[in-house]
């Protein structure tokens, strides 16, 4: 990974310029050309290191969301995971080491739609959904400090 790539990944996770030529501003900061910035970001995106350059929304300030979990019999895990992932309202879906072994985040434009998705997942899988909505947030998300050495 080049120094330019490291700095692009680490230094601009927040406060990205909301100005007409944002990549040119990054370029000035990094003392490279605008084209170099755009090409490096495109490369990082193609490699999967960056999911996007854009907004991270505050949970429950835009629409409604919850963290949900299922205890899935191991032999059904792949099928149930695929069923859950197929919902456009599901944005994260992970297997975790626990008797509650499938964890997913559901976001929807309204609380009603959120409740409907959870009810449908319960009905289609025959498994009880553990619904754990956020009650209080303590950490101000400043992005992820990559701390390369």
């Amino acid at each position: 990974m080049t120094e330019l790539e490291r700095r692009l990944l680490n230094d601009f996770q927040r406060g990205f310029p909301l100005t007409p030529r944002p990549y040119a501003e990054l370029a000035r900061c990094l003392e490279v050309s605008e084209v170099e910035v755009i090409e490096a970001l495109a490369r990082l995106q193609a490699e999967g290191a960056i999911s996007r350059v854009g907004p991270v929304f505050a949970p429950n300030r835009v629409g409604a969301s919850t963290l949900a979990a299922l205890s899935v019999p191991p032999e059904r895990l792949e099928d149930v995971a695929a069923l859950v992932s197929a919902y456009p309202e599901v944005n994260h879906n992970y297997e975790r080491e626990h008797s509650h072994n499938l964890w997913f985040v559901v976001t929807a434009e309204s609380r009603d739609r959120l409740a409907a998705v959870l009810a449908e997942i319960e009905a289609r899988t025959g498994l009880a959904v553990l619904d754990l909505p956020l009650e209080e947030q303590f950490h101000i998300d400043l992005g992820f400090d990559l701390r390369w050495h």
Partner: protein, 163 residues
Amino acid sequence: MALNDDDKAVIAAVQAGLPLVERPYAAIAEELGMTEDQLILTLSRLVDQGQIKRFGVVVRHHELGYRANAMVVWDVPDEQVAAAAAAMVETQLVSLCYRRPRRPGWPYNLFCMLHGRSREETLGKLATLRLQPELAELSCEVLFSTRRFKQRGARYHEKGEEA
């Protein structure tokens, strides 16, 4: 702060990320039939109001070598939650820290995320957390993620959808 229809259209247009072109806001604004200025002002307002908690490069931990990611769940007496959370955040080791409700069979009410390049590194961070006096006596469980079935940004107002 309620969202108006323009806000929802802007959110739908930017949630998958900016295009990598010289004038990304102009490109999105044109799609929306608004001016570049209007789009930038709307985004600035959503940041100021807190609906957008940050705007920038969103990295994917796993692809950057952080493969030992754990959700740690804690059972904290209700009156101690704020102090325990403050102690966690203070260490700068956790990337998220949320209070969530207890449920029957689920006693844990405080959640944080730890990321490491190996299980040893992540468990080392947990050991450091547990040195905090507010956390030392609490019961917790570590849920390492073993498979990622889906990961992307939240989608709220899909294009063309009546919100």
